[in-house]
Structures are given as C-alpha cells and as structure tokens.
C-alpha cells in the first residue's frame, strides 16, 4: 500500500506555514511599535505613518484596501450562503463556527498553495500582469469613494471623471487576459466582454452625466451633499435604472455574465488562470463590485445621508454606517438578481444596450435638464 496523501494533512501543513508567517509579521510590527518608543521622535514619525488619521492608514486599512478586501471576501461568503438559501440548500457549512463563515479564507488559502500554471505559448508578462491590473482597478476606485463627510482618502474636483477613467481600464484588462492566454475560450470571452462593456459604458456615462448636471459638480462629495434633502433616485428613476443595469453589465454579473458563461465558453477570459492569479482576478472583481455599488449609492441613493441614531460626536461613524448599509443593500439586490435570472445572449444584449438603454439614458438627461431649467432643484452646487 502506498501512502495516501489526504487532504486534511495537506491543509494542516499549509495552515502551519501561514500561521507562522502571520505570527512573524505581527512580532516584527509589534517590535517596531513598542520597543522603539525610547526614540520619541521616531514614534511620532511612525504614528504619522501608520496612525489612524494618516493617509497610509486610510489607503491601506479603512476605507481603503483592507476594508474593501474584507467586504469582498465576506460578500463572496454571503453570496454563496444567500443564493444557497434561495435555492433551498445550505451552502458553505463546515469552515468556521457560524455557517461556514471562514470559507472564503479557506478558499484563499487553498488558492495560495496551488500551482500557478500558464499556457505554454502565452505572453507571460501580460498574462501575469492582468491579475495585478484587475486588483489595481478595483483598489483605485476606492480612492475617491466618499464613505463620509470627513473621512475619505482623497477629495478631488473631478473625482467622477477619475471613476470613469478607471472603469475604462476594465475592458482593457479583460482583453489583455484573453489575448495573453493564447487560447480559444479566453479570447472569445474577452471579445464578448469588450463588446458588452463598450455597449454599456456610454449609457452609463450619460446616466451619470445627468447627475452631474443636477448637482452642478464633478466632485462626488458635492454630489452627495446635493442629495441632502432628496435622493436623485426619486428625481430620476429612469437614470437610476439605466445606471444600475449598466453596472450589472460592467461587473459581468448575471444576467450579463456572458464574458464568462460557463455552459458556453467555460470561464471566459479567466479560463487559463489558476492559483492566486485567478484568486486576485476574482478579488479584484469583487472589490470592483463593492466599489461600483458604492458609486451607485453615491450617485443615486444619497451617499452617507440617513437618520442620525448615534449620539452627537459620532457623526462620521453614523455616516459610514449609512453608506455601508446602502452599499450592501445594493449588493444584495444584485445578488438576488443573480438568483432569479438566466443569461442574456450577446446580440440581444447589444441590441438592448444600444437601442434601449441609450435612448433611456438620453431621456433621463433631458429630464435632468428640464428639472434644472424649471428651477425645481435648489441644491445645485452643494449646500
């Protein structure tokens, strides 16, 4: 009898490796923070670098990458659990105490320890740069996401333009993935993705443009402030619907998941990716999912505004809470749509995108201009 290498054994070994490395990092950081205070000057520098008010903290922890990655991984768990409930099954169950809540982390561990395979004739440089690009696109959207009044990574006069500039990179990353894989299914998937995103991006821009017209600013913070009395979804429901549908297409979610339709083209542009390369593409997709839901909240659902239920002095936390809650609700709704809908077909989708959504988007633009010209919306340019 040969030795059978069972899975738990393998898992044990890999978790030991991971645990040791995490412990190592903690020790080093702890040492940095607590053993050097003798040099008081250095401590101040360090606090400025990793303190709660520093830019580094904002970018790296909250509301930046760590927070988004946490939400992304847990939304994967939530999606699986939620869809499972809708489909009368249990979903992840055994990892973690409550309903398999640690399943995404187990998945990440599994992906990290898998072999990275690339097709023999692929363009290695591009092939491996796509996962990075995918994560980077998601992460850079977070930079301008206004989670609250006084707590955001950066404020820019043209933050809306930044958002769309970054989203414009998504089709490129998809095409690069398909091209570099040098394989049939990824390439077809990439072309499909390209078609779809270009068809929907214009409608998306025009729907967002009407928001800009009403609020009179390209600054996302100003846009939110313009909604302090009334949300834009009430004023422009058509625009909100158009933006939401284009959002789905941009995120490649059902019913617009053509770029990686399993029964047709296996996994689309992600077919040839394995291990953490696949993992980081997925992570990037889910961070983008969070970020774009956040953009939808910002543009149409009044961003951080909501009734104050925490005592005075905690306004920022209250705002963050409302923003997160609204964003999560948008995400849940997108997940519900995944549960109840089949997939579109490419020609139907293009027809829908170019002939219906574009018209609706323009209609919405006219409505916005009309509202503005009649003087019914007094909050233009923020408060």
């Amino acid at each position: 009898m040969s030795e059978i290498r069972t899975f738990p054994d393998f898992l044990k070994r890999s978790s030991i490796v991971l645990g040791v490395s995490v412990l190592f990092i903690i020790i080093i950081f702890g040492a940095l923070i607590y053993t050097i205070p003798a040099v008081s000057n250095f401590k101040d520098v360090l606090l400025e670098l990793i303190g709660i008010n520093s830019l580094f903290f904002k970018i790296a922890v909250f509301p930046g990458y760590t927070w988004a990655a946490l939400i992304a991984t847990e939304i994967i768990w939530f999606e699986r659990k939620f869809i499972a409930k809708m489909q009368l099954r249990v979903g992840p169950l055994y990892a973690g105490m409550v309903g398999g809540i640690l399943q995404p982390i187990a998945d990440v561990i599994k992906l990290v320890f898998k072999e990275m395979i690339s097709p023999s004739k692929s363009d290695k440089l591009i092939f491996y740069s796509v996962p990075l690009l995918s994560s980077a696109i998601g992460a850079s959207l977070l930079a301008v996401l206004p989670v609250s009044d006084g707590w955001l990574i950066m404020r820019s006069d043209v933050s809306m333009l930044i958002v769309f500039a970054v989203i414009g990179f998504v089709p490129i990353s998809v095409l690069l993935a398909g091209w570099a894989s040098n394989s049939k299914f990824p390439f077809i998937g990439a072309l499909r993705g390209l078609h779809q995103m270009i068809a929907f991006e214009i409608s998306m821009l025009i729907a967002a443009l009407s928001v800009v017209i009403l609020s009179g600013s390209l600054d996302l913070v100003n846009i939110v402030q313009a909604q302090s009395r009334i949300w834009f979804i009430v004023l422009m429901p058509i625009g909100a619907i158009v933006f939401f549908i284009t959002l789905l297409a941009e995120l490649e979610r059902i019913p617009f998941d053509l770029p990686h339709a399993e029964s047709e083209i296996v996994m689309g542009h992600q077919t040839e990716y394995s291990s953490m390369a696949f993992g980081s593409i997925q992570l990037g997709t889910y961070i983008r999912f969070y970020a774009l839901s956040g953009i939808f909240t910002t543009l149409f659902l009044g961003g951080w505004y909501g009734p104050q239920f925490l005592p005075a002095g905690f306004e920022i936390i209250n705002q963050i809470e409302w923003f997160t809650l609204k964003t999560l609700l948008v995400m849940v709704f997108i997940i519900i749509l995944r549960g109840v809908n089949p997939r579109f077909r490419l020609d139907l989708l293009l027809k829908f995108g170019w002939s219906r959504l574009l018209i609706l988007a323009f209609l919405n633009l006219f409505i916005a201009i009309f509202i503005l010209q009649m003087g019914w919306f007094p909050f233009t340019g923020g408060i």
């Binding site: 869809i83 809708m86 489909q87 009368l88 099954r89 059902i254 019913p255 998941d257 339709a261 399993e262 029964s263 047709e264 296996v266 995944r338 549960g339 109840v340 809908n341 089949p342 997939r343 579109f344 077909r345 490419l346 020609d347 139907l348």
Partner: protein
C-alpha cells in the same frame, strides 16, 4: 465569407455524450451534423445473450432516469407473446411507477435547461424537488434510480401502505412549487427572449421527421401513446394531453411543465382507485415466450419507446429491436438549429430532451 467548423462536444460543458459538428457563418449556424455513438453499447446484440429476466436491468440502462417507462413496452412484448393477463393491481402499480418516473425525468430536464441558459436556481430547485419523487419510488421499489421493478407478469412487490399519504403530500406540495417554476423560469422575460421563437419545428416537419413525445406535441400534433393506444390502465384514468401550436423551445418546456401536472393527477387517481388483489402472476420458473413476433409501444417521458421482439422459443430473444424516443428526435436536431446563433445551440437542442445514452443504446 468562409465557413468555420466547430465541434461541440463530447467534452464541452454544453453538450452531452455526443458531438455536434457545427458549420458556422460568423456566429450564425449554417448546418449542424449530430455525431452520436460515443456511448453506444450494442444493447440489441447484448440482449441476444441474456434471458428475458436478465434483460430487465439491462434495458433500463439507456435511460436510467426513465427506467420504468423504458421497461413498459418490453414487459408488454413478453406478455403479448406469452399471452399473459396481468393482475389489475399490478397494472395500477406499473402506472404509478411510470408516472413517478416521468416526473423525475422531466425535473432533470429542467435542471439541465437551467444550466444551459445560465440559471443556477433552476438547476437547484428541480434537483431538490426530484428528491420527493425519488423517495416515493424508493419506498415502492426499494431503489432510488435503477428500479428494475416491472416484470413480465406484474411488478416485483406490492406497495407499502405509507406510500399513499406521502404521495398525496408530495403531489400537493409540488403543485405549488410548479407555480414558482413558472414565475422564476418560464415567465422570466429573459428566458422568454431566449426561448420564444427559437428552434422552431413546424407541424409539417415534425410529421415528416417522425419525431415523438413532447417535441411532437409542442408542434401541434395531439399524439400520445397513452391515449392513442391505451396500455395498462391508462384508459381508466382521466388525464389530458397538453398541446402547443408554437413548436419553439419555450413551447417544449411548457409541455414538460403541464405533463408533470397531469402525471401528478394520474398518480393521485391511481392511488385512489387501486383495487386490492395480487400484483404479479406466479410464473414459476423461467420466462420463455413461444415463437412469434410482436411490436409494442409505450409513452416514455421523452416520447414513444417501442420494442420489436422476435422469439424463436429459446431462452433468449432471437432479435430485439429497441426504438428509443431520443433516437427518433435526433433527426430534429439539425432541423431546429439551422439559422440560430452558436450561443443558442445548447438550449435549443436540449429543449428536445435529447438523451445521448438512450439514442445510442
């Protein structure tokens, strides 16, 4: 423009155990040539080496989801040659098993349909709801999939008493579920867009190609062996045959939904009307028909399945021809997919409920 040839299957997520050689003009299908035979096991030849009882588990295998319906014409053929009169209770139990099988098979159809159009919920629900009927079939026959339940002269065993109540409960529950199926899948606008007007098989073509079952009825021909040539006790039961005039993929799926409703009604009636008495003739020893030949038919969940049995009085059949519905519906695949887009190929050919193992035999 040059033609592109793509082979879909047998290792493609959107095909079964068979290949489709697709000739494409851009994204448009010019011609589809089905290439079956990957799961051919020579059932007709193999059956000549087995006696009439040993053939029973073997003849279920081509359509294991539809086991009882596949055996129906076979046991009829043997009984016809041996001139046997099957007890009425046995006939009722046969009908119950056949209708349970029809529901199980139709639910599987919806599960795969859901996968092919990317509807994950429509994959999970039918698989979950099949459990009720598989459980009932297991209570009756003692097996969950390959029942081997019908025998020449009756059925293997009597049904336990508990089945009656459970079956009624399951049918009542599932009738409510079917409404949800219609809401989430059949009437979903995206599915309607993808299925309505797709893969049309006109009435004339359906007759010309000699297709059977739901495919035929979706094209507007009211033909069902259960009504045309009532076997077992189908003439004593009250049920309808759903017919649609559209002949498209959606109509074929709709026929499946309605047939499940009718099957449940049949099960309920049969359990109510079932008389007491023996379930099987005691044949005492080997089943051995006298020389002769017979051609018997039954309506399986995919259509008419026929057996042409020629006996020379020996222990084994002299020649046994098995005509399965999928083999007859195979003729329609190249017909309905002409002019569609490649993305529509898997949902379009699956709407025929094509089952490669059954077609290859």
């Amino acid at each position: 423009m040059s033609e592109l040839t793509v082979t879909v299957g047998p290792q493609h997520p959107g095909s079964g155990h068979f290949a489709l050689i697709v000739k494409l003009d851009g994204d448009k299908i010019v011609e589809v040539i089905p290439d079956p035979g990957y799961v051919h096991r020579g059932d007709e030849k193999v059956s000549e080496n087995k006696n009439y009882i040993q053939n029973i588990p073997h003849f279920e295998r081509p359509a294991i989801l539809d086991a009882s319906n596949m055996l129906f014409p076979y046991v009829h053929a043997v009984e016809d040659l041996m001139k046997l009169e099957v007890p009425v209770r046995g006939q009722y139990i046969r009908v119950i098993m056949a209708e349970l099988n029809r529901i199980i098979s139709h639910l599987y159809y919806f599960a795969i349909y859901g996968i092919f159009v990317g509807h994950s919920t429509m994959f999970m629900w039918p698989v979950a709801d099949r459990e009720h009927f598989i459980d009932l079939a297991q209570m009756i026959s003692g097996q969950r999939v390959g029942f081997a339940f019908l025998l020449p002269g009756g059925v293997r065993n009597d049904i336990p008493e508990a089945v009656k109540e459970r079956a009624n409960e399951a049918c009542n529950y599932f009738e409510k579920r079917l409404i949800e199926y219609e809401r989430i899948f059949m009437n979903n606008p995206i599915f309607e867009k993808r299925a309505k007007g797709m893969g049309i098989l006109s009435k004339e073509d359906a007759i010309k190609l000699g297709v059977v079952g739901p495919t035929l009825r979706a094209s507007g021909i009211k033909s069902d062996i259960r009504k045309d040539e009532p076997y077992a006790v189908y003439d004593k039961l009250d049920f309808e045959i759903p017919v649609s005039k559209d002949g498209d993929s959606w109509a074929r799926a709709w026929i499946h939904i309605e047939e499940m409703r009718q099957s449940m009604s049949i099960i309920k009636q049969a359990l109510k009307d079932i008389p007491s008495g023996p379930v099987k003739l005691n044949l005492r020893g080997q089943v051995r028909p006298p020389p002769g030949e017979t051609f018997t038919r039954a309506e399986s969940s995919r259509g008419a399945v026929s057996f042409y049995l020629i006996s020379n009085g020996g222990m084994t059949p002299y020649r046994l021809r098995m005509i399965t519905p999928s083999f007859r519906n195979l003729r329609a695949i190249s017909h309905i997919t002409k002019g569609l887009l490649l993305a529509d190929l898997p949902p379009a050919f699956w709407s025929l409920d094509y089952w490669p193992v059954e077609a290859d035999r």
